[in-house]
């Protein structure tokens, strides 16, 4: 019933049921609400966080399986990729309602860490699982390209 893990670089011990999805542990127990609920079944990507450096759907990760894990949420995203994406998102006004954008940025940071100069096809493949009902997809693509440029500079 207690899980100790790193969240945004801080060691936290959470008293919550082992089967609690990381999503709800982050939101309800830790108060990190930038990670969003969209579907609860890994079909939309709104809850994407990094676990041990990999972008994953926090709605599918049981807290009890995360003992010792290192979790980064949008609030703690400080990698060069993350910073560049946030800057690019602001420059290009990617957001509309904004609800899915934490997940979009977390997923895009993962993409840029692996593929510093992604093509449109790379972007579509990596971002396919992240739904935006405002359909900001064109600007998401442009934002990722712009972040790649910023990182190169």
């Amino acid at each position: 019933m207690a899980t100790t893990l790193q969240i945004n670089g801080e060691t936290r011990t959470l008293e919550a049921a082992d089967d609690t999805p990381l999503l709800w542990a982050l939101r309800d127990e830790v108060g990190l609400t930038g990670t969003k609920y969209g579907c609860g079944v890994a079909l939309c990507g709104a809850c994407t966080v990094q676990v041990d450096g990999v972008a994953l759907r926090s709605c599918q990760m049981a807290l009890g399986d995360l003992e010792g894990a290192s979790v980064v949420t949008i609030e703690g995203l400080a990698s060069p990729e993350g910073r560049a994406l946030q800057q690019a998102w602001r420059e290009l006004d990617v957001v509309q309602c904004g609800y899915c954008q934490s997940g979009q940025i977390m997923q895009a940071a993962d993409l840029l860490a692996q593929t510093p100069k992604p093509s449109d096809d790379d972007i579509d493949a990596a971002m396919w699982g992240n739904v935006c009902r405002c359909a900001t997809y064109q600007r998401i693509r442009a934002g990722i390209h712009r972040a790649a440029e910023l990182l190169e500079a």
Binding site: G34, L43, V131, C134
Partner: protein, 717 residues
Amino acid sequence: MTKRLSLARRAFLATAGGAGVGLAVGFRIEPAGAVSPAAETAFNPFLRIAPDGKITVIVKHIEFGQGANTGLATLVAEELDADWSKVTAESAPGNAELYANLFWGGAQGTGGSSAIANSYDQYREAGATARAMLLQAAAERLGVPASEIRTEQGQLIHGENHLNYGEVAEAAAALPAPTAVSLKPPSEYRLIGESSLRRVDGAAKTDGSALFALDLQLPGMLYATVAHSPRFGGRVASFDGSAAAAVPGVEAVVEIPSGVAVVARNTWAALKGRDALDVTWNDDAAETRSSATLVGEFLELAERPGAVAATEGDVSGALAAADQVVELTYEFPFLAHAPMETLDAVVRYTPGEQVELWFGSQAPTIDQTTVAAMTGLEPSQIHVNTMLAGGSFGRRATPNADIASEATAIAMALDGRAPIKLMWTREDDIQGGFYRPIYVHKLRGGLDASGRLVAWEQRIVGQSILAGTPFSMLIEDGIDLSSVEGASDLAYAVPALQVELHSPTVGVPGLWWRAVGHTHTGYATETFVDALAAAAGADPFAFRQQLLQDKPRHLGVLELAAERAGWSSPAPEGVHRGIAVHESFNSFVAQVAEVRLDDGRVKVERVVCAVDCGRAINPDQVRAQMEGGIGYGLGAVLRDAITLTDGYVDQQQFDTYEPLRIDDMPHVEVHIVASEEAPTGVGEPGTPVIGPAVANAIFAATGRMPTRLPFTNDGLV
């Protein structure tokens, strides 16, 4: 007899308010927006200035992505001569006396793409009034005439003297407000029309700090989920909550009018508790028909005359005399809005005193009056705090205030012992009704021997969104205007026209879905025009051009889109083009879609969009709304449908109701018509045009018009 009706929503709620349908106006709530945070000075209900010069614009419309916060802030900042980097926006509280939608006759709410249009004068005047007061205060401070002081970027300037607005804000706000102010001539605009302005909410929405209703946590708050009837109109017959109550963390299981609520110490426990519920439903009053049955019934109705929504000339005679008659029948499915943030609300109920609500309230006046009636409190005791919302597309504006009333019902069942956060799951959302209703259209058009359009007959069948709601008096002579808008006011010149409507009763709640009636009328009329053009042997662009000679704004966007798309030159190898033009909410949009078809797979590669929305306040946001509106409309026509089997919804998640994904998104380019006309809306008008533009490209490629939506029903993927 000539009778053409169109739904102008500026008259819509105006009528509702005037008829006194429970849309109480004139009550006063102490609004958060008028209570200045420490040291900030309120100039009027729309504007505060802090000592450091920070400008806060209080926005009376919900921000759910469409850019209302940025747009209304721009209007104030323009006349204020504010420094845009110091401008922020916050949502106004529910208070119709201060924050009514001026097109809605005294009610506060957001809809019909009206936020900018109704606020254009009001918010500019708010900025101009404050600027005049700042000038006067600076004049007194500096001992010079106000006429010698100029304003620029949040500064009051007289010779070498510079005063920041914040330095004189308190003194300025204490002065009497001028009774009349003059507004800038558009030639002096620095912010309105400027593409480089960034959104005021852009930063908070990229670092996780933007607060939505789901993000609020109040001390002692409990979390709630609700089990709803799986059939629409079903009621709780009985339930066994013992297993749910045994789930660790579950605090209460209570019956409420809309179902059975599970209240717990966290979301996960509330979800698990709901899974453990055993509810028996009473379906005596439930809708038990299948959607296929409904479509079949509607197709039969389409063969019979309906209520006349528009008529001109002798359509029967003209059809009988026509050289060619073209006939098409269309089927449109139920559509869910599926905003990324599902319905949710935080409520704190103090029995006998007040209800505080925090949620994405799209129609605060309806929410306040509904919750007041439930609790026996006055509307002024219902405090609606509008949060940023993760999309809506119409879903958050329900005539029965569904989410506010459900949250309040739970709080009442617990006698207000704890604040409650209610959350709907995605399954609740997809299966929760309030869909764009099913519609069937049957069209017959006549062409004379020279290919001229001589007759247009359109019969529309579909449930009324307005029937049974507080707005039902807006059904005129049996015509729900929201069912026929976009058809009864057909833009094309035709000597004989008749539009008829059947409004069968369906037990599934229907609702406006981004662009409302235009979602089906725009598709039917614009694809039918292409079918007529083909029968006439005419180019679809030229055919439209000739029929729109008296419609300069339609013609303007049509020609602009065609020109920028290179309509007159051949499309790239394997690419097919389709064009469509449609007016909705007083804005005019034309689109050319470039489509590739590969074994029935529809790939929309490029969309060229032209929009005339009057003066574009934030051109980049106009582009963003066209891009988003196109994506939203495209996802629906490609593959989205809610279907029922014996009254049960077949879809429940994003796998079976799959939104547009990034690889479906075409390259969109938007061209804005330069205009001196008053600004109109852009949130909805991009959506109804993309479906027919793509369908017309498919028609050009295959000779077969997709008429049973979504395209997957027509053998396309």
